[in-house]
């Protein structure tokens, strides 16, 4: 049981969930020499006969997963986001997405929070890449509660999934006892009328902090957690746009192609209001400790709050 305020890396929740659901459902797990890091090692230890290490060969892993799925199995394929979504992008598109197979891509170590490994390993494009594949469901859980349920949902739902898990501990923001994971539905974590902060994954708890900061200045911010980037809950986002008149998105990802782009597209089509994007601004990351990196690239509650004020100022 995860408790609000606990700090848990969602990759840990991923590994545990694979074990938790292994008896109930028939699936296999593949990894590409990163099982210790992606936490599929937890599953490997419990179910060695259902775990297959593919070695450092992500393209092959993705297509082996596709072949397993074509033969009726459900296959998880895990690696770092850079290699799962980046290196194996075309395999995910052509061998998994095009035939709409039951391959569930579990990607960890996305974004700047990889820290010291630097730009080559800080995948800030995975959500964009995976969103472009027709029929691919894209999930970025905000905490361990969501990560666990996203795994269950992926097993129970037909078709390809991409799920992004964090390397670092994230505060639990959902009350597990009363939380229902609804695929494609955003979660309103805090109501507000002046501006809406739409966040995903790593940035959800920061958006809540930003809302607290704004409240101190008399600004009433709504906070929406978008765990499913695709299909996107356009209805909830447009309702928020209509009711609050301004939106700030926040993601640990390039502002091109990820949550910011998805929300801007939905808002433009449904209820045009100012939309500002917090995320990396079309730049590569760099090596460093995670807190100063997040500060450098503006992935902070303070920057979300600053953008909220700018968005409010842009209201007609």
């Amino acid at each position: 049981m995860y408790k609000i305020g606990d700090k848990v890396a969602t990759r840990d929740a991923y590994g545990k969930a694979l074990v938790e659901f292994a008896e109930q459902y028939d699936f296999v797990v593949l990894d590409a020499d990163l099982a210790e890091a992606t936490k599929t090692v937890t599953f490997k230890k419990a179910y060695p006969d259902r775990f297959f290490d593919c070695g450092i060969a992500e393209g092959n892993m993705m297509c082996v997963a596709a072949g397993l799925a074509a033969a009726g199995k459900t296959a998880f394929a895990s690696s770092f986001a850079m290699f799962a979504a980046g290196r194996a992008y075309e395999q995910a598109r052509n061998a998994v997405g095009y035939p709409h197979l039951n391959v569930k891509i579990g990607a960890t170590h996305a974004g700047l929070a990889v820290g010291e490994d630097g730009a080559t390993h800080q995948c800030l494009e995975d959500l964009a890449l995976m969103r472009t594949i027709p029929g691919m469901t894209v999930i970025n859980p905000a905490d361990a509660v969501e990560a666990r349920l996203a795994v269950k949902c992926a097993i129970e739902t037909d078709g390809p999934f991409y799920i992004r898990f964090s390397r670092n501990p994230l505060p639990v923001v959902n009350d597990e006892e009363n939380y229902t994971f609804e695929l494609g539905k955003g979660v309103t974590l805090r109501d507000g009328k002046d501006v809406t902060l739409v966040a995903t994954g790593y940035m959800v708890s920061m958006a809540l902090e930003a809302a607290e900061m704004l409240a101190g200045e008399g600004i009433d911010a709504r906070v929406i957690n978008i765990h499913t980037l695709k299909p996107l809950d356009s209805e909830l986002i447009c309702k928020a746009a209509a009711e609050t008149g301004a939106i700030v998105t926040a993601e640990e990802h390039n502002v091109i192609g990820g949550l910011g782009s998805a929300v801007a597209q939905a808002v433009c089509q449904g209820c045009p209001v100012p939309v500002l994007n917090v995320g990396t601004q079309d730049v590569f990351g760099r090596s460093g400790k995670v807190p100063p990196l997040l500060e450098m690239y503006g992935l902070t509650p303070a920057n979300i709050a600053e953008n909220a004020k700018k968005a409010i100022a842009l209201k007609k």
Partner: protein, 276 residues
């Protein structure tokens, strides 16, 4: 092999070749050269060797075939239509916007196609996944993957070879169609992936080399491969690109261009004139 069987196989290979020509001619595009080089193999697989049922194309116990060199779809479609998986009339709709017959194999919409392929280097990995699934499910079906010699320049083919050997996928057979030509010229001149036998043996495969247009050699090699335990098999199949149509044989230009009306008629006449 008795004369009756040999005659049946020749007749089926002829029908497949005619289908290749009909489809690519009607589409005014496609890949006849490499389709003709695997026509004899497909005749043997679909009309003698593989356990498949056109009435139940998704039978979980069926043998699988992954055409990793997916651009040779015209031959696969012709074989499937001839075997009864779908109406032969569809062959003339190849590559048309309202046809199920996509330019490259599409498992979602074409009965009998076991894996969507087309982007080179991926299909063999998928075949490994199917073979692994058979092991996990305790099923005795076999999985065949047809890979092009040019296609073997994709590094992923060798990633899959490592995987197949590591997991002892003895229910998997790689068939390497060595027709010697690829778009930019002779395979040996483009980048030269040969020798295939030594490489595949080093990767842990049971390797045989045959003439891919000799049904007795095809049969013998597939049966021997079936008997191997504990290691995947590979059959290096020496073939002629464009086989059966004299003006297409060993000509790079027929890798990816379709016959015009005149060429189509000449090619069909030549195929029909051959004795079964």
């Amino acid at each position: 092999m008795n004369a009756q069987k040999l005659q049946m196989l020749k007749s089926k290979a002829k029908a497949i070749r005619l289908g290749v020509l009909e489809g690519t001619h009607a589409a005014k595009s496609g890949h006849p050269g490499g389709s003709l080089s695997i026509s004899d193999l497909l005749a043997y697989l679909y009309f003698d060797h593989m356990n498949v049922d056109p009435a139940n194309p998704k039978n979980p116990d069926r043998d699988r075939l992954v055409l990793s060199k997916g651009h040779c779809a015209p031959a696969l479609y012709a074989a499937l239509a001839e075997r009864g998986f779908f109406d032969k009339a569809l062959i003339g709709t190849l590559r048309q916007h309202d046809s199920i017959l996509q330019g490259h194999p599409d498992m979602k919409h074409i009965p009998g196609v076991d894996m969507s392929t087309g982007s080179l280097g991926m299909g063999f990995s998928a075949a490994c996944g199917m073979a692994l699934a058979a092991k996990l499910d305790g099923k005795d079906y076999r999985t065949y993957a047809i890979v092009g010699d040019g296609e073997s320049e994709e590094g992923q083919i060798w990633e899959a070879c490592m995987f197949a050997a590591h997991y002892s996928l003895d229910n998997l057979c790689l068939i390497l169609d060595s027709n010697g030509l690829q778009i930019d010229g002779p395979v040996a001149e483009v980048i030269g992936p040969a020798p295939f036998e030594a490489k595949l043996e080093a990767f842990g495969f049971f390797v045989q080399t045959i003439d891919g247009h000799d049904f007795e050699q095809i049969e013998d090699a597939l049966e021997k491969a079936k008997a191997v335990k504990g290691a995947p098999s590979a059959i290096v199949m020496n073939t002629v690109k464009g086989k059966g149509v004299s003006f297409m044989e060993n000509q790079v230009k027929w890798h990816g261009s379709a016959p015009n009306d005149e060429q189509y008629e000449a090619a069909v006449a030549e195929i029909l004139a051959k004795e079964d």
